[in-house]
């Protein structure tokens, strides 16, 4: 790939990021979390090593204490677990060796001499060279800083859909996956064999399993064929649970395994996208919310209280498009990372006019009313005392966007919005009133379809409607960087913290192809992580890479991520960003829904 050489780390100057990390790692070592004397040199060692050794043993057999940051106060003794975690070059460990039974036995049987062969599971994802088991221990992942900074650019070149080899050519195309059989919906990667290299090459896997170890969802492949991996995940989780601890993250070479345990559900992300633990955990939370929005937490708990062994796939049947769609959009939509939503840039007057029309159908059956297009909000009506959480809005967008069936008819479906109320369903009336404009009316009452359908007719027939739609569609033209007219600016994301909305121009040159976009997005993601890191968050982050300069800037009212050319001077960058902020301030009424109409 010609591209990768262009972006190779050799070309990258010693960027401020690395310095960041250097200073950061110092602060890590002196942080309030007491590290074991044996662990500390070990970590230093790994920090200084540019190339990981082939055989590295991380010995945590001596008494180790560390704080559990999520619990906040309790300092736990890790004495009980005296283990030697054998770490090898995982590429060498073929999946055939060390059966699952071995792993389970190894995990269950906690004697001093026991060696944990977690390798099989970890190695499935290939090429992991160094591992750190990190259970509730914040500092460990920080320790990886330098290596990450080095490998940051080059390790992510091959992108999900642009790998050298075609991903879709699975040799097992003849196999029909369960999903296909029972829903008729053909998942893109539904029949990949989990033993195949195609499956392991995916850059980010998501797994959801029940606490009993039953597979519920996998982003790639077929759930029923990954049950042995699910067994391993369950074993790892329960190994830590035995000592009243919660596993949060394992860093293994390029891969990061992030665990989110939510009652009867375990969610795991396995990623080599360099996303931080916190970011991956956010994504797992979105997936969890997606499941809640299908089932509600009441139902979920009840099911598993009654039968711990329940196969949840039965109830989730037909919802794979939502989970798949969510998993994909989380990789290329800043809204999830920023915890905010995007609305359509349009004239404030027009937005108000539309809001007024929708307001005219005041009905006590109506809780929320919104008009959306392509994952962007046009307007939202809400009751005076309830706002709508961005996470819930993402679920709504994901539902509307995730299924084409809404386009063909008026639909009525239960949906749980977990941030609104995770215990019960609301009912959504979904109807496209123009090609890409979707009207969504949400009611707490499941019998109100016809009332809402009536309301829709009123909205649609309302005077000037046609003119409105034409105007609307013409306004759906996206925002371009050139509209801003700031020299040197290539792209930006601006999140208004007061409105919990963000705006971002469409990608144009030089971010036309998805690969470029991914790289830019990765830089944004990285900047975001540096500025939101729990250890030492930054207010301003300035990064010069081989092909762009990224500015991250957080104040109490906004977050700005802006991309400039690599050669821009600091002073030019400063004045340009101020110009950008001024422009946004001026356009604020059109870019954001400043005051959403209420009932």
């Amino acid at each position: 790939m010609a591209y990768s050489s262009l972006r190779s780390p050799n070309l990258s100057p010693m960027s401020p990021i690395v310095e960041d990390f250097l200073s950061d790692s110092n602060s890590t070592l002196t942080s309030d979390e007491p590290l074991s004397p044996t662990l500390q040199p070990q970590r230093k060692y790994s920090l200084l090593k540019a190339k990981p050794t082939t055989q590295l043993t991380l010995d945590i057999s001596s008494p180790t204490t560390y704080s559990s940051s999520s619990a906040g106060s309790s300092v736990k003794s890790f004495n009980a677990i005296s283990n030697k975690i054998e770490i090898g070059v995982c590429g060498e460990v073929r999946p055939k060796e060390g059966s699952v039974d071995d792993i389970l036995l190894g995990l269950m049987n906690r004697s001093n001499s026991n060696e944990l062969h977690i390798n099989k599971f970890l190695s499935t994802f290939g090429n992991a060279q160094r591992k750190e088991i990190d259970s509730d221990n914040e500092t460990e992942s920080e320790g990886e800083g330098i290596e990450q900074a080095d490998s940051y650019i080059d390790s992510d070149i091959s992108l999900e859909n642009n790998c050298g080899k075609p991903l879709l050519r699975s040799p097992n195309n003849s196999l029909i996956s369960i999903n296909e059989e029972c829903t008729g919906y053909r998942r893109k990667y539904g029949n990949e064999d989990p033993q195949s290299t195609n499956w392991t090459r995916h850059r980010k896997h998501f797994f959801i399993l029940s606490s009993a170890g039953k597979p519920i969802y996998t982003r790639y492949g077929d759930e029923s064929r990954i049950s042995s991996y699910m067994g391993v995940i369950q074993a790892i989780v329960s190994f830590f649970a035995d000592s009243d601890d919660t596993i949060r993250c394992i860093n293994a070479g390029q891969h990061r395994f992030v665990f989110l345990l939510k009652g009867p559900l375990y969610l795991v992300a396995v990623s080599r996208t360099n996303e931080s633990e916190a970011q991956l955990r956010d994504q797992l939370n979105y997936l969890y919310n997606q499941i809640l929005s299908i089932l509600t937490s009441t139902q979920l708990t009840k099911i598993f209280e009654q039968r711990i062994n329940f196969d949840l796939r039965r109830l989730l049947g037909g919802t794979e498009p939502f989970l798949d769609n969510l998993a994909t959009s989380m990789s290329d939509e800043p809204g999830f990372m920023l915890g905010s939503i995007q609305c359509v840039r349009m004239n404030k007057d027009l937005r108000d006019k539309i809001g007024n029309i929708m307001q005219s159908v005041k009905s006590k059956d109506l809780l929320y009313a919104m008009l959306i297009t392509n994952r962007k909000l046009i307007t939202l009506l809400r009751p005076k005392k309830h706002s709508l959480h961005p996470a819930d809005l993402h679920l709504v967008f994901n539902m509307v966007n995730g299924s084409s069936t809404f386009r063909s008819a008026e639909s009525w479906t239960p949906i749980c919005l977990p941030k609104f109320n995770n215990k019960g369903f609301l009912y959504a009336y979904v109807c496209y009133i123009a090609t890409n404009v979707c009207l969504l009316l949400i009611s707490p009452d499941k019998d109100k379809f016809f009332e809402l359908s009536e309301a829709k007719s009123i909205i649609v027939e309302k005077k000037r409607y046609d003119a409105m739609v034409i105007q609307l569609v013409s306004w759906l033209k996206a925002l371009f960087t050139t509209d801003v007219g700031v020299p040197g600016l290539r792209h930006f994301i601006y999140k208004s913290r007061t409105h919990v909305q963000y705006t971002s121009p469409t990608f144009v040159e030089p971010y036309c192809n998805p690969q470029e976009r991914q790289i830019l997005f990765k830089l944004y993601r990285y900047t975001h992580d540096r500025m939101h890191s729990r250890v030492r968050s930054l207010k301003v982050h300035y990064y010069v890479g081989p092909s762009e300069t990224i500015l991250g800037w957080i104040t109490s009212s906004f977050e700005l991520y802006a991309a400039f050319g690599p050669l821009i001077s600091k002073s030019a960058l400063t004045s340009s960003s101020h110009a950008l902020l001024r422009w946004i301030k001026r356009e604020e009424d059109n870019l954001f829904i400043v005051n959403s109409p209420v009932f």
Binding site: E181, C182, T183, G184, Y185, R186, K214, P215, E223, S224, S227, M230, I294, L295, T296, Q299, K302, I303, Q306, R307, N309, F310, D311, R314, L315, L316, G317, G318, T319, P321, M399, S403, S404, T405, F406, S408, A409, E410, S411, W412, T413, P414, F425, A428, K446, D447, F449, S453
Partner: protein
């Protein structure tokens, strides 16, 4: 919806006679018939409706979410009938919502897949539920869909015929016994789809409906279930077998 988009497709043999012109004669007040489609997931409920309403077919349709509401006007002899169709989702998680859709319905089409024996069992349980809980006068039609998969075609006749898991006679006998209309259909090719709706229209006591305002049935039904969503899907429990491993 697109009431006029219906063209005369491959099933021009429909017996509704002369509705091809589709003159929604303004002076004829359409008779509203509420119809609900029920059946296991992926048997082709939406495809049947889509064929009936738009005379189109989509391969690999995504599963319906919740329920979709469509309407279609038809002419039967001297009357205009407006079908108000609830196309429900077949997934188990939506089961508890079904009463909401069938409780005022004058007609139900219970669909199964002729290539899947289990789907007939599911259809039978829907019929049972309808006969127990729905409007006592409801007209129920049983439709075995996807016969295009088992119809002998030019090449490989034996192979395709072997795909059938529900013999016509078996389903027909059951339909007779339970007092249902019976059809075999292909939403893909359009075979038999129009017949389903035509026969239903013929069987429904239309005069009866005309004489009464539309919402009359609203209160008269016995299952105004205040059932929490999912209430009846838990007692069944999961599949006992350990299918994951």
């Amino acid at each position: 919806m697109s009431n006029n988009s219906r063209q005369n497709g491959s099933d021009s043999t429909a017996r509704a006679g002369g509705e091809n012109g589709l003159t929604p004669s303004a002076n004829l007040k359409p008779v509203q018939v509420k119809l609900v489609l029920l059946g296991e997931a992926a048997v082709g409920k939406s495809s049947l409706v889509f064929r009936f309403v738009n005379n189109e077919f989509q391969e690999n349709k995504e599963p319906t979410i919740g329920a979709a509401f469509l309407t279609q006007k038809c002419r039967l002899e001297d009357k205009v009938i407006k079908f108000e169709i609830w196309d429900t989702a077949g997934q188990e998680r939506f089961h508890s919502l079904a009463p909401m859709y069938y409780r005022n319905a004058q007609a139900a089409v219970v669909v199964y897949d002729v290539t899947k024996a289990a789907s007939l069992d599911k259809a039978k349980s829907w019929v049972k539920e309808l006969q127990r809980q729905a409007n006592p006068n409801i007209v129920i039609a049983l439709a075995g869909n996807k016969i295009d998969l088992v119809q002998p075609n030019e090449e490989g006749e034996d192979d395709s015929e072997s795909g059938r898991q529900v013999p016509t006679e078996e389903a027909k006998a059951y339909a007779l016994e339970a007092g249902l209309l019976f059809f075999e259909t292909s939403a893909k090719k359009g075979d038999g789809v129009r017949d389903v709706f035509t026969e239903i229209a013929k069987k429904i006591p239309l005069e009866h409906i005309i004489s009464r305002p539309r919402q009359v049935n609203n209160n008269s039904n016995q299952i105004n279930v205040i059932q929490p969503p999912g209430a009846n899907r838990n007692n069944g429990g999961g599949p006992a077998k350990d299918c994951a491993c």
